[in-house]
Symmetry: C2
DNA sequence: CCTAGAATGTACGAACTAGTTAGTTATACG
DNA sequence: CGTATAACTAACTAGTTCGTACATTCTAGG
């Protein structure tokens, strides 16, 4: 139901383009203000079409929000699929995986905010989405294989669980971006200050590796 | 302006009691629904007095929310002040500090939610509160002293920064509670499941200590 | 006992907000 | 060329939400 069969794409009356624009504006607005803070009229005002189209294509505020979440997760997952660290030795692979995750979180603040917002709502919208509720994570598969190789080589402790390690990495990266505001307000240190970036990036790698090494 | 001078405390017409009840109900409501999701009328309905009192004592929704934040932080800080781990050797002190922080986060889910909510709002309310914006953290002082002792004894690496270590611990604990819903929706693992509690608690201690030990 | 002022309750309204109704224009296709 | 239908627009509405005006009751101090 997409893809113009012949001729150049019409500048006006392009359903796909309209849908995409609504999603893009809505993503920014929901990430910025939260689900309850976002205003349908505000989203409408910021796009080149009207509010009616938002209801035409998505059916309502909540379903638009779910569509936003679905697209955001899809984008992130497709990026994760490009991970290519399996040719490295286990230690270096872990370090790279951690640092790529680190970079990743830093360059997608909207996604992190959407996840925080969704947690405030106890993931009720994710639960309502078939697309999202059981969505596998390619980064976790990569991590699982690295751990196995490291265990076999005797450089990693044998009891390390992939999901636990993934959680450690996520916790560090998510906290750094998601909690930066209160952290900065209380401790007067901006965790996202560019001058501290290299320090935190290296620290995460060390943290994970020092945990993984057999004692 | 409190403390009845003579006679038994009046069951009705007790300004302090009314204030406290409003704060308690508002805390639950804001933590549950977020700032924009919370409804003034809903808070009013759940308390034994009327909405008028909320405006009489706090002036409005936003100022009530700030008062809620101030009280929540104050409570947490006073609990932190009771930390008593300085008599232990550095390694054991760190482990205990981490585990107490862990317990702490688990037993104050409302506080964690309020912090997440405040981060969605980029800490704008904390910034507006004189009480909160520069509030020192007793746990950080304790941590600083432990690290110093450990460094002197040669059991900790010399370049470990107290605030970084505090951040590591917080990241782990906050992520486990604040992001449990999306994590569970995606990975089908409840990080707060009681049967996994001991595992995570021990893991945090190991994580921090393996990072701190000189390599 | 009386009064000033603090504390409380009721009822209401102005502004906002999600969603809809009713109608219009462009485009694909025979 | 004509028409069915997808894409689109503007104006409106029903319900909500924060906040307030006004009336009332309790309590401390003289």
């Amino acid at each position: 139901m997409a893809a113009q069969p012949t001729g150049p794409p019409a500048a006006e009356r392009d359903a796909d383009r309209t849908r995409e624009e609504i999603l893009a504006v809505a993503t920014r607005e929901f990430a910025d203000k939260g689900y309850d803070g976002a205003r349908v009229d505000e989203i409408a005002a910021k796009m080149s079409t009207t509010k009616r189209m938002l209801y035409y294509y998505f059916g309502g505020k909540e379903r638009l929000y779910i569509a936003v979440l679905e697209r955001a997760y899809t984008v992130i997952r497709s990026l994760e699929q490009q991970l290519d660290v399996e040719h490295l030795d286990p230690e270096e692979a872990i370090r790279q995986l951690a640092e790529l995750t680190f970079d990743h979180h830093e360059s997608h603040p909207d996604f992190i905010r959407l996840v925080s917002i969704e947690n405030i709502h106890r993931a009720e919208h994710i639960a309502r989405s078939d697309t999202l509720s059981g969505l596998a994570n390619p980064a976790l598969d990569v991590l699982t294989r690295i751990l196995e190789r490291g265990r076999a080589a005797g450089v990693f402790r044998p009891d390390a669980d992939p999901l636990d390690v993934h959680m450690m990495i996520s916790a560090f990266c998510v906290f750094r971006t998601a909690n930066r505001h209160t952290f900065n307000a209380i401790f007067r240190r901006d965790m996202l200050d560019p001058t501290r970036r290299a320090h935190y990036r290296a620290m995460l790698g060390e943290l994970v590796l020092s945990y993984l090494r057999p004692h």
